[in-house]
Point group: C3
Chain length 266, copies 3
């Protein structure tokens, strides 16, 4: 079973190497995502236009794609960037926000999947929708399902696409189709802060720059993010102070606290 | 006269029901708006593209439209969403940011008004511009007028359009053309934080999911927001800590404090 | 040598006059930029669409242009606004984010330069790229060079374009080609907060509304911003509390503290 001694070195490497992470993400999450990545030690760059998205991939960073606040111009940039990423072997993360909620989102995901994301991170409703379940409906961008309910779908999806799938919620499940890791950090108040999932997806992309194993990258990001989130929540007076304290914690978290808090349950 | 015993049940219901609120808003306000809605208990979704804005209305949320940082693609999405809202009977809020400042904004509002907003929320300059006053000019997005100066225009506008109009400022005036409610919560330092008015408009849309009376929805949102804002300002060291404390307060405010603080002056 | 007695009156005037500042900036920086400007006393307005960007310039504010998260529609608005600014004599600031990183960014800057920015503010890599140095490469949006390394290039650029150039970093250098001012406020943790440089550029535009001397405007903005940043960093537990405290400080900074802290080193 994974533990802090396996995952902490990636947190340390991220801080030391400050890898470039190109993000094509939604308007709500941009500020939070950039600040989360900076606090964690990465060097984020938001570059989305079709005119330059692929050129920017050539600079050698990893890539994070998030389809919240989607529109045709942005989808074009996402497609260009992911095609360049595939050709170049750049690891990339897909966050399929609210897939299943509208036909447009389903079609967008269908255009990106041929470029095979390294990691897909979503909530339970999103992962179930991507696995073809039409019997579950989300409430807008929020999940109506728990992560364990999506476990089988996540494994199937990982096998079918040949990628790693992370379902986050009160329990977080990461699988590459063969291995399954479950983590249990975090705090319910984190659902009252916008862009938590979105910035976590970008953080997975940052960890893909320091380990070649996507399962470990996703588990590191989720464990690190979850520990910081619960520490922040315990000291917070509400969602805004949670957010502030969490970003501060990403910057200051030490190995001992990480090891004390990390809950890998499987 | 309205009091806390009338308005508090809507605050409580919002927290319990967590209604979906679709927002097509400006780039500056997205993060703040999403966090305000989450802290208040709603489930916000920012979905604007013409390709899906109307489809998303069918999911059954209420709708908030804000014309800050406007451009043609976004206006198309706003038009599609409001047409769907009108057809479906979905309550929607219009925040006519900086209307009167450029011809483009006037034309944008003219395209949205046939879909009859349930509530219009603006500052005094915006409401006076919408009422056809060409003798007053705003300073960019900021009002140069006080709310009481816009009182008559607000009543006229509400009657002419058959909707509820809220003019916010140091005094907040809400009218459906027949009834008029005035509130006096808030704090001057709130004008030093961006997206305050914008997120309040979206909060009105959230309250439209828990009461069918638009006047009560607007008054609830304004009273709740104003009480939290003044409590936050009293403890703040500047605009950024005001913003943080206000979002925390939206999450933690209790009925007793609300009743102690609420100032309905008419 | 410049000192606080020269620069503080501009800070005071900014608070008193609350000048309108039109910003066409990137999605990541909008919230931070608006809040920085409001805390400093200005009246920001984010207005970018080609349909109205030039009309808005006619309202009489100063103008800040930032090419982060660039796309063709936005570049059109930037071009329209800067052409109107040039015709009208409106002072404007160019923040050439990540110029040199992609051809698209180089071409964008080439379209804006004929309108002669009043001030260009960038990090060392950006200013060196604008001066034609092809031997240095940035890491995405982050500089790989120190400001003193860009000193000669900044002076050359200022002379060639007939404008003021500010290179910011641990040392900040401002030059109009004849005079050179160096400042040394700030804190390393400021690089862990997104949109710091972007919001500083917009703050320079705000100061251009209170002094006709672009060198003094840039030096005032940089000194005021740097002093507030270092005071915030000293009390911060991480990057998010730095950001919060810095915005609060912009609102509350007094003349004595400014004079005690300001470090003009040349």
């Amino acid at each position: 079973m994974l533990d802090a001694s396996t995952l902490w070195p990636f947190v340390r490497d991220l801080r030391e190497r400050a890898p470039l992470v190109q993000c094509i993400t939604n308007f709500v999450a941009m500020d939070m995502t950039a600040n989360v990545l900076l606090a964690a030690g990465a060097s984020p760059a938001m570059v989305h236009a079709t005119e330059e998205a692929a050129d920017f991939v050539e600079l050698g960073g990893t890539l994070s794609i998030n389809i919240g606040t989607l529109s045709p111009g942005w989808l074009g940039g996402m497609e260009a960037a992911t095609i360049a990423a595939k050709r170049r072997g750049t690891p990339w993360v897909l966050d399929p926000v609210a897939v299943g909620a509208t036909r447009y989102r389903d079609e967008a995901v269908a255009r990106l999947l041929p470029q095979t994301p390294t990691v897909i991170r979503g909530n339970a409703s999103e992962i179930m929708a991507m696995a073809g379940r039409r019997d579950v409906a989300a409430k807008g961008v929020d999940s109506t399902q728990t992560s364990p309910a999506a476990r089988t779908n996540a494994i199937e999806l990982a096998r079918r696409l040949g990628c790693t799938v992370a379902v986050t919620g009160s329990i977080d499940i990461v699988t590459d189709g063969a291995r399954v890791v479950s983590l249990a950090n975090g705090h319910p108040m984190m659902t009252k802060v916008t862009a938590m999932g979105c910035s976590l997806s970008a953080l997975v992309a940052a960890f893909l720059a320091v380990t070649r194993d996507p399962l470990l990258a996703a588990a590191s990001a989720i464990g690190y993010f979850g520990v910081c989130g619960e520490l922040a929540a315990e000291a917070a007076e509400g969602p805004a102070s949670l957010r502030l304290r969490m970003i501060d914690r990403l910057y200051t978290l030490d190995c001992t606290t990480f090891a004390d808090r990390l809950k890998v349950v499987e």
